[in-house]
């Protein structure tokens, strides 16, 4: 069911804050690597969530091979702009001089959208990289993208810049990035949790993204679901069973109370998932379980990557 998503060259992973965006990004990376591909995970400075998950300290502004065939890049907008200037001003001494001036620092903070553009533009460079045999060096690129509220303006950066700059190299840079995003090679994966507020936002995002046409949403992930792991039965059923079994009244009461609470929670979750499914058409919705090992985010990501293998493995 995730064939279309995993065929993309660039996968943008977004969602409301706190839903496990970085964990799902990591899980996808681990899954694709174990499926024999060479994924590159990208996040934007100052975020370092992926580094925290893997307990690594990545090299600044450079690819790091986390484990064999799994790569990571932290894009800093400042570095991307400096790199862009260096490329524009071929004379190294001149670019060093420009980069050291206050003039540059002011321009870099005020030039509309330039920093954002070159940060997104870095994805273009990474996508273009080929190995000696002409094959993609990174396949695919998975981006831990800005959260939902900011995502649309993030992917629209090239268009915004193109509107402002009508000629010159900045416009050309924007066009280049725009064509990549518009090429159909990029996908969006939206992560949500199974609660009413988060799924409402995910459904609204669907409308917003439909307006800009590309990139297309190719999957929804409902993360941290509890209800899938238990059989939702009448609380009475569990109560009866307990009464038959319990030796001590106190234990029976405690369990009955705990089970009741869990069932309430699971039913609430079910309602949110049903509502969500009724509003999403023709896009796969993947339900991922809640993994209760809060001490290791890497363990959670690894467990989820196994889940992805179970549902998406056949496609690769």
């Amino acid at each position: 069911m995730l064939e279309e998503l995993f065929k993309s060259r660039i996968i943008f992973v977004t969602g409301k804050g706190g839903v496990g965006k970085s964990t799902i990004t990591t899980a996808m990376g681990i899954f694709l690597k174990s499926a024999g591909r060479k994924p590159l995970i990208v996040e934007f400075a100052p975020d370092k969530s992926i580094e925290h998950i893997f307990h690594i300290k990545a090299e600044p502004y450079r690819e790091t091979e986390i484990t064999r065939n799994l790569f990571y890049f932290n894009i800093s907008a400042d570095e991307a702009l400096a790199e862009y200037i260096r490329r524009q001003l071929i004379l190294d001494i001149l670019s060093k001089f420009v980069l050291s001036t206050k003039f540059y620092r002011h321009i870099s903070n005020t030039a509309p959208g330039l920093k954002e553009l070159v940060a997104v533009g870095k994805l273009y460079d990474l996508e273009k990289k080929r190995d000696d045999n002409g094959k993609h060096l990174y396949d695919p690129i998975i981006v831990d993208a800005p959260q939902l509220g900011k995502f649309v303006s993030f992917v629209k950066t090239p268009q915004t810049v193109m509107k402002m700059f009508r000629i010159g190299p900045v416009k050309k840079e924007a066009e280049k990035v725009y064509h990549l995003i518009d090429s159909g090679k990029c996908s969006v994966a939206i992560v949500s949790t199974p609660d009413e507020m988060a799924v409402t936002e995910a459904v609204e995002a669907q409308k917003e993204l439909a307006e800009i046409q590309q990139p297309v949403i190719r999957a929804f992930f409902l993360n941290m679901t509890v209800s899938g792991r238990i059989s939702i039965m009448e609380p009475r059923y569990y109560r009866q069973r307990l009464e038959e079994l319990a030796s001590k009244q106190t234990v029976h009461e405690s369990i009955a109370h705990a089970v009741q609470r869990l069932l309430n929670y699971a039913q609430m979750e079910h309602r949110a998932i049903d509502w969500f499914n009724s509003r999403v058409k023709n896009i796969p919705v993947v339900t991922l379980p809640f993994v209760e090992t809060p001490d290791s985010d890497l363990f959670i990501a690894e467990s989820l990557s196994i889940q992805l293998t179970a549902i998406g493995g056949a496609a690769l």
């Binding site: 509107k163 936002e201 319990a246």
Partner: protein
């Protein structure tokens, strides 16, 4: 002079539930009989809907009591809500300080301005503060609760007024407009001698229109500058007033708690009232003691033949473990911030409740009652 309203500012990174917590504090305050306003930035408008309103406006709207039907809250105060719109607030500020309507229109229609007012990093933070300043002086509330925009570092919020004025007053842009100005601060003396050449270069590089829009913007803005700057100073000083209390909303995850500790260490450098942490989305324990847990485990292990019951009990034990994990993180936060004189509050809010109508939000708010006098 009427008494100054209390202000509670909720800061924190994205995804910690600031908007929900802010609304709950507002409700708690209204329940205690106070005239309350909640200023939110919730873009999903989910909160507006849960408060019985279709949408929220950039001005205070009263929450109808009918929104509370179905639960007896016994509310004696009043509750208003509004959404912060960065661009509208910025536009109003321009209109206020422009010397004429024409000048204001020239700025508002400038494409560089349109970009700056909506997209520029920090403008959202600043405009939230600006609106607070305005509301505080023009309305008569007992308490105003401010839900701040999510930030990678919550500290952005405190430095926003300064950053924005610095940006607008930055020498280089003024110099582009008035090439005769002293530009030694640029550290670029070659250009000092030939500013026209630089402008020419820029024009060929990015296009005539953008340079013209830029220069127009800064020459128009020049007239507003002093008004704008003194306003920013007032807004900045509002942040350190004794009636303004900052609460940091966080959640029991490693990253969020580390961020909260970092924020707390930075805050010492600011003259503000830091009043406490609000720990949100804390899991409740499912069992009351270790003795009970042992008994439950023993019982569960006897259930070989009953898979459904076994699974559900296992799951309750898993959820229970999460509560213990949360408790450890809260204790960790407590030890990290203990050495300081500033008091703090940790509040345990239930996670397993849907907070999408006012009744459950009112129930949720009970845990926050201690914050509101």
């Amino acid at each position: 002079m009427r008494p100054q309203p209390e202000v509670i500012v909720c800061v924190g990174t994205g995804g910690v539930g600031k908007t929900t917590v802010s609304a709950a504090i507002g409700i708690a305050s209204a329940l205690k009989g106070r005239k309350t306003l909640v200023m939110t930035i919730d873009p999903a408008k989910r909160l507006a809907q849960s408060m019985g309103l279709k949408t929220l406006k950039n001005t205070p709207t009263s929450i109808p009591l009918s929104a509370f039907t179905g639960c007896d809250t016994g509310m004696t105060g009043s509750l208003d809500a509004m959404i912060l719109e960065t661009r509208t607030t910025f536009n109003n500020l321009i209109r206020k300080y422009a010397q004429s309507e024409q000048k204001a229109e020239a700025i508002l229609n400038n494409s560089y301005y349109q970009y700056v007012s909506g997209e520029l990093a920090g403008s959202e933070d600043y405009m939230a503060m600006e609106k607070l300043y305005e509301i505080k002086n023009e309305y008569d509330y007992d308490l105003i609760v401010v839900d701040t925009p999510p930030a990678r570092h919550a500290i952005n919020f405190l430095t926003a007024p300064n950053r924005l004025t610095q940006l607008i007053s930055s020498g280089v842009l003024k110099w582009l407009v008035k090439p005769s100005m002293n530009v030694s601060l640029l550290g670029l003396n070659i250009i000092n001698r030939a500013p026209q050449k630089v402008i020419k270069l820029l024009k060929s590089y990015v296009g005539l229109e953008i340079v013209e829009e830029l220069t127009n913007f800064f020459s128009e803005f020049d007239g507003l500058y002093s008004g704008f700057k003194s306003r920013a100073r007032d807004v900045q000083s509002l942040l350190s007033s004794k009636n303004v209390h900052f609460y940091m909303v966080t959640i029991p995850t490693h990253d969020a708690v580390e961020e909260a500790i970092y924020f707390y260490s930075i805050l010492k450098g600011f003259h503000i009232n830091f009043s406490g942490f609000i720990m949100n989305k804390v899991h409740d324990t499912f069992y009351s003691s270790d003795t009970v847990r042992t008994d439950v485990n023993r019982l569960k292990n006897k259930l070989e033949e009953d898979e459904a019951l076994k699974r559900v009990i296992e799951e309750t034990l898993n959820m229970d473990r999460l509560a213990l994990h949360d408790k450890k993180l809260i204790d960790y936060l407590r030890t990290k911030v203990r050495a300081n004189a500033i008091s703090y509050t940790l509040l345990y809010l239930l996670m397993d409740k849907e907070l999408t109508n006012l009744c459950t939000l009112a129930e949720f708010s009970k845990a926050l009652g201690g914050i509101v006098k």
